[in-house]
């Protein structure tokens, strides 16, 4: 099962390596990991999607890293989760219309059109991004890239489940 962790870390060299090395050596599978600046000066936010039956031990182990400041686990119902994908679909003159129709339904934007392919940009809920991907897959995928999931908690009714010391 996938769990989304939002981790505030000090913006220092090597922090990403510490986090990913810890997850690897404790035997946890990373589904995706996105990192960038946060609203706090000197702090970055990592959104880590971990594939594990439970993440209590992951959170505690991450918390042992000196540069990890805060960890929140987001349940899907209380979080805004987003992903961006760039995808190049094979599609010459005969198929373009069909593909663009599907793209329009999903608000995917054609960012590059060539003789043999169209490149789309789509951003949104990861499920929506996946649905779009599955619909255009039969036309032939040339290349694709995903940003990895980013997430924030909704306000006010859903608050992040914060890690507290177990007592």
């Amino acid at each position: 099962m996938n769990h989304t962790l939002s981790v505030i870390v000090e913006d220092k060299p090597g922090v990403l390596a510490r986090v990913s090395s810890l997850l690897a050596r404790r035997g946890f599978n990373i589904h995706s990991l996105a990192v960038g600046p946060s609203h706090e000066d000197g702090m970055s936010r990592m959104t880590i999607v971990v594939d594990a039956p439970e993440v209590e031990q992951v959170k505690k182990q991450l918390h042992k890293l000196i540069n990890v400041v805060r960890i929140s686990e987001y349940e899907q119902s209380v979080a805004i989760e987003r992903e961006i994908m760039l995808v190049r679909v094979a599609g010459g003159p005969g198929k373009r219309g069909e593909i663009l129709e599907i793209a329009a339904i999903f608000d995917a934007i054609a960012v590059d059109v060539g003789h043999n392919s169209i490149t789309f940009q789509i951003a949104g809920d990861p499920r929506k991004v996946n649905d779009f991907l599955e619909l255009i897959r039969p036309y032939g995928l040339v290349e694709l890239v995903k940003s990895g999931r980013v997430a924030l908690a909704r306000e006010p009714k859903g608050r992040p489940v914060r890690l507290r010391a177990v007592n």
Partner: protein
Amino acid sequence: MTKMTGAQALIRTLEHEGVDLVFGVPGGAILPAYDPLLDSPIRHVLARHEQGAGHMAEGYAWATGRVGVCIATSGPGATNLVTPLADALMDSVPLVAITGQVPTTSVGNDAFQEAYTTGITMPATKHNYFVTDPAEISDVIHEAFHIASTGRPGPVLVDLPKDILNQSTHWRVPAALNLPGYRPTVEGHPRRVKEAVELITRAQRPVLYVGGGIIKANAAGELRRFAELIQAPVTTTLMGRGAFPDSHPLAMGMPGMHGTYTAITAIQKSDVLISIGVRFDDRVTGNPKFFAPHAKVIHVDVDPAEIGKVRAADVPIVGDARRVLEQLIEAWGERETPDRNAWIETVHRWQKDFPLSYDQPADGAIKPQFVVEELYRLTGGDATVVSGVGQHQMWTSQFWRFEEPRRWINSGGLGTMGFAIPAAIGAKAGTPEELVFAIDGDGCFQMTFNELITAAVEKIPIKVAVINNGTHGMVTQWQRLFYNGRFSGSVLGDGIDYPKLAEALGCAGLRAETPDEVGPILEKALAIDDRPVVVEMVVDREEMVFPMVPAGGSNDEVILGPSEKAIGPASDLP
């Protein structure tokens, strides 16, 4: 603000942190740091190998309770420190390792003696630093000492490129700590403390299962008061030997794979297991599914990640062992001491019926346990005992009677063979008034005996008893028990004349070959105090460590002695 080089700032900050002793080996990249060291009151002990320097710093930290410091150069110097760092991480030993690094202009270029030290040591340290500005040195070193010695102690490495050490900077007193992600919990949650006391009040068969956390937190006094208050028998893990006096009527000795029958069984029968500063290691629990099956578990630890890692806790308490014990004592208040006579009598009956035992025939080979007991008798137990890893370690832990903390030093979690000699040197250097006696195996001895030169040259007069059975004893024991006595790769042979070797390295060398020689030879060893002493004890090669719970087995099935279970042919051991 004083103008100086990065190297001078480093040494100045070590002085500021109160360091009196460092263990190290110099080399190209760390050379700048060695120059100001010559003018510093800090004593440098020149180890013969960086691994030795690391274990010396560990021994120093174990014995004194202070942060041990070791220094190495870049590349191989740093990689040789990996074992002691991993050892210190497993056993929560406060350590600061300083390593040289190639100049920042060469980093990443596969320069001479370059290794990616912070990357290599990342999973072997509590935290590490790569310094890129000499102005950061004082703050980084200050943080390193703070992180190493607080919360769950551990090793911290600081990697210093040569050009950073050579650049000039302004030294100032380290600034206030800025560690937003590091705030160890000291105080136990009052509600949990209350729950724990209520559970203990209702308990019929409580057991205190305590470990290294008690020693790290200097909580032995509080533990004793609490144990007496609640009248619960106490078992001390390998890391926690000395946390509770073995002479105390509530003491049961060590639990686990080679623990006492009483300690193992009391845990199995307990209804409340009060676990403090322990981590439910597999060497203690055996198969955790069968461990303490009837017990509600109270788990006190300063590291939240230990709680629930192996065994779910009914009452989890994150906090410093000493502080939480104070809170527990306070919460217990004026409650009457419960009547646990029936339970304690049961425990005492097990002790009487299933004591640790061995048989020393007067005209047979020396039994290793007899060496431990003779040394105990002759010293009155007034010594710091250090061991490596294997049979000799188990016999020492079993047959020495530990009364105080910090007088038993060994490698527990990582199980680092060769730990004893360098750790004994570090312990002796840190506590020079103390008699420091390493009880080592011959396999362990052969891994690090080069450090005897350090002991001799630096005039650190440790004593080493080599329990010589010509084999990797614990390996042959498992081969006897589980591999039909096929001694593959485990026989060391008789190639070494230990007394001669000791003499050649600047130590005194002695040997005992029969039981009646053991006492007199040990007395001779104890009388020598102008140089290190090595005493070879030629022991019975077939002796095995019992009791034993085979790895992954249930603690309900303790093998008490060699005749209890079918054992493979063993007679062909040289």
